[in-house]
Amino acid sequence: MTTRIFGSGIRRREDPRLITGRASYTDDIKLPGMLHAAILRSPYAHANITSIDASGAASQPGVVAVYTGADTDGVLNGMPCAWLIPGSDLKTPAHPAIAKDKVRYVGDAVAVVVAETRYQAEDALEHIAVDYEPLGVVVSPKAAAQDGAPQLHEDVPNNIAFTWAVAGGDADAAFADAAVTVSDTITLQRLIANPMEPRSALAQWNAPMGELTLWNTSQNPHIARFLTCVVTGVPEHKIRVIAPEVGGGFGSKIPYYPDEAITSFCAMKLGVPVKWTETRSENYQITTQGRDHIEEVEMAATSDGVITGLRTTVYAGMGGYLSTASPGIPTILHGLMYSGPYNIPNISGTIYGVFNNGCPVDAYRGAGRPEATNLLERLVDLVAAAVGQDPAEVRRKNLIPKFENGHDVATGITYDSGDYEAALDSALSAAGYESLRAEQAQARADGRCVGVGVSSYVEICGLGPSQVAGAVGFQGGLWESAIVRFHPTGKVHVMIGSSPHGQGEETTFAQIIASEVGVDVDDVDVIHGDTDNTPMGWGTYGSRTTAVSGAAVAVAVRKIKDKSRALAAHLLEAAPEDIEYEDGRFFVRGSPDQHKTIQDIALMANVAWNMPEGMEPGLEASAFYDPPNFTYPFGAHVAVVEVDPETGRIDLQRYVAVDDCGPQINPMIVEGQVHGGIVQGVGPALWEGAVYDDDGQLVTGSMLDYALPRADLLPELEVHSNTTPSPHHPLGVKGIGEAGTIASTPTVYNAVMDALRPLGVTRVDMPLTPEKVWRAINDARNGG
């Protein structure tokens, strides 16, 4: 037993069951009498439905029921959007779970077949006759916002779902006075989240009790319960949502989807359990995608490279409908981060959320912040090139100086703590930056295209103060709660409202308990994912679980500690103020032999034979933690690439990361999060992108065409960290789940542009596929 377990890189306790295939996911659950649903999906990106004849399917072998949108009238409410950003003229057009008159993306649900087996249900789909009248299609979010573009929703002119602005200082004046201005048009392409486990829903309707149980691949079962209530009309206390093992989400399992609603509808109609699990092809077509930005951006600076202003106009694709959280992603989580780690006194941004004929877009790892960091870091490199200075030095002169307790930026938010220059120094030092530049000079002399990329970043996470959530239109709170329960034998259950699905909190939260009261980590089980046996919480996303839910755990276990101290004092016949604690033992000051262990206390509290006057039995505490501010992790990354100018192929040779997420509960888990995050950000820089053709068909519809990062394409990642505690968090921790993704896209992009700059190439649209790079090199050589 140790009380120094906080900060120890112990192995993840959830891993044995996960990596040996013995964990139980939604699709593993089989209930007696369970039927299977398959959903007919629109093959058109935009079309009127002129008729549906489902009668042919009903008579197929094994088919129990076939439903179309008309069957849901008066039963299912529309799919809700739950982030209603204020002051943006937000339009929330109807989004039926099953399309009735019109489809707006390939994959829009049109009908559902319920059969005895999934194979029979799939076979029967082929016997549903749907007549479509194809309509004009628009894919680009900027094109969709223009006059004359095909209109997806009648009541949304120019497809503009919202117009949101951020401003601080006087950006126009800054640009008018600027010695140097640089600009770019950045496409941050659509990305497919690709969790290993596809989405799934299993609904069971207990008619006599009026109770609905939904097993669901959700990052936030309590939100799923709330939205199930909204859509199905079943009272909230009659709904139980269980997120069993969830195999990754990356944001794509935050939303409440039509498929969950359809599956619940079928179960309620038929009175038997119904399961639906998406195929990987469906996952690509219908599970929310990320990004889809077209950004027209410019930066103003002095002739010495001091940044004076930033202006942006962003067209953010929403897809065919608004998903659960989509309006908040390119606005609150993006525009408010426009200052990055820099002093930028004058900022102005306009963000258009635009409907386009693709899969709905919602949160994807980093959600808005990678987009902000990417545009800032690309512009900073352009400023450095314009003023002829080293990009690392231009960053250094613009970084906000070290602060420990609050720094206001022009977008109106207050960073908690930061030491950005230290992170930059650490990254440059770890990379051997000066040597890299010398090697680069030699390589260039030898005719090789070697590039070094640098980025600094700060992100907003630990979402967040509920009052702020309300002020920015989030239709919920952002606090978390925890119950810590000591059983008579000293074993512990921790019930949390958040819902980890790979992040390792079954380990790190046990480490918090162990380090506070001295129990063994293995004596603590962390319970999550079931609305019937966990307290309310808003879920796992936005690098918030350790930052918010972990704080609730810490506050709750400290209440346990206080009660234990009081009970120990009573049992040891000492005054509470004379009780000291060390290594799981409460003892009378100066007499360590006179002590009670936490296990002694747990037993005595549970049997309650000898409690002090007025003290309740039991050893259990709960805490509701609403953070006073967001947390702001930060860091600096460096990448080295070599480009083959003959082919345009890019070899990522080194990647160095320095991240500062405050004190680390488990450095091994932090490192794992950074590894995955970096790779997920390198993907869009070099390989990944969901491509729709002009007809709105997903061209990259499988892993044959959609290029996920693969281990053999990456170097050994060099991961380091600094430690700047958050001033407002009970443990000082900040969150690390998204950092790598936020920093790595521009780091690698900047490295490639650094390699190509001598050839006259200054920009290429991402992903930097070989052909695009090859064409850019050829165009530059041809004077283009």
Binding site: T279, E771, R775
Partner: protein, 288 residues
Amino acid sequence: MFPAQITYRRAGSVAEAVQLLSDNEGAKLLAGGHSLLPLMKLRLAAPATLVDIGRIEALKGVSASDGGITIGALTTHAEIAGSDLVQQHASVLAEAAALVGDPAVRNRGTIGGSVSHADPASDQPTVLTALGATFNVTGPGGDRSIAAADFATGLLENALEENEVLTSISVPSVPSGAGAAYVKFSHPASRYAVVGAAAILTVSGGTCSSASVVVGGVEATPARASSVEAALAGSDLSDSALDAAAAAVAGDLNGDPMSDVFASAEYRRAMASVYVRRALGAAASRAG
């Protein structure tokens, strides 16, 4: 991924496989399953009957034969990559096999299935064409042989007659003193060849006496680079000779070009010349 209904039959011998194909209209052969099953899962292929030949031992393995080696159609890419016989007689085939897909694909996918699928982005058809291999088939009418160069007849189309089964591939030994190489531009997602170039250079007395150069991935079937071969014949294989020869590949690529979201036809053609040059360089360095 839920394929349509199928009838599954397992063949115990080649003769039984031919009979099952003849008896079942629209039946398809199943070997390693790495080309057919993905199509079936997407319902892009829906054969009424699958004839599984995967357990016919006679179709497995590499053996020495007159003037070279014979490779059973069911031999996996991993077996070829690790075969001493292949290494001795046609190491370029092992080099290519090691570049197919990923370990799971190489452990399950078979050379017979790969060439029969006739995907121009596959590696082995390109190399086998360069090697001058022969495909041995058995059908209702008996046995016959098809030259590798004639086997793929179009995109995903082959020269097998109805109800014929590819049983083995005869590969002649690469002459001693010759240098051979296969270099590949892998698609980052699928690992298929965006461009694959195979070169076999025979050298005597410091000059190239014969060359066999084939490019895959660019056209619907592996393309023999006759102009490159002609330019190499009699040359000294100097860097400038290889440069000039590789540039000539543009004249050999006149068929329908492959093009997709990752690599356009124009880019593939340009890369053909780059990868032919790299294959020539590697082959020349191994010759002699």
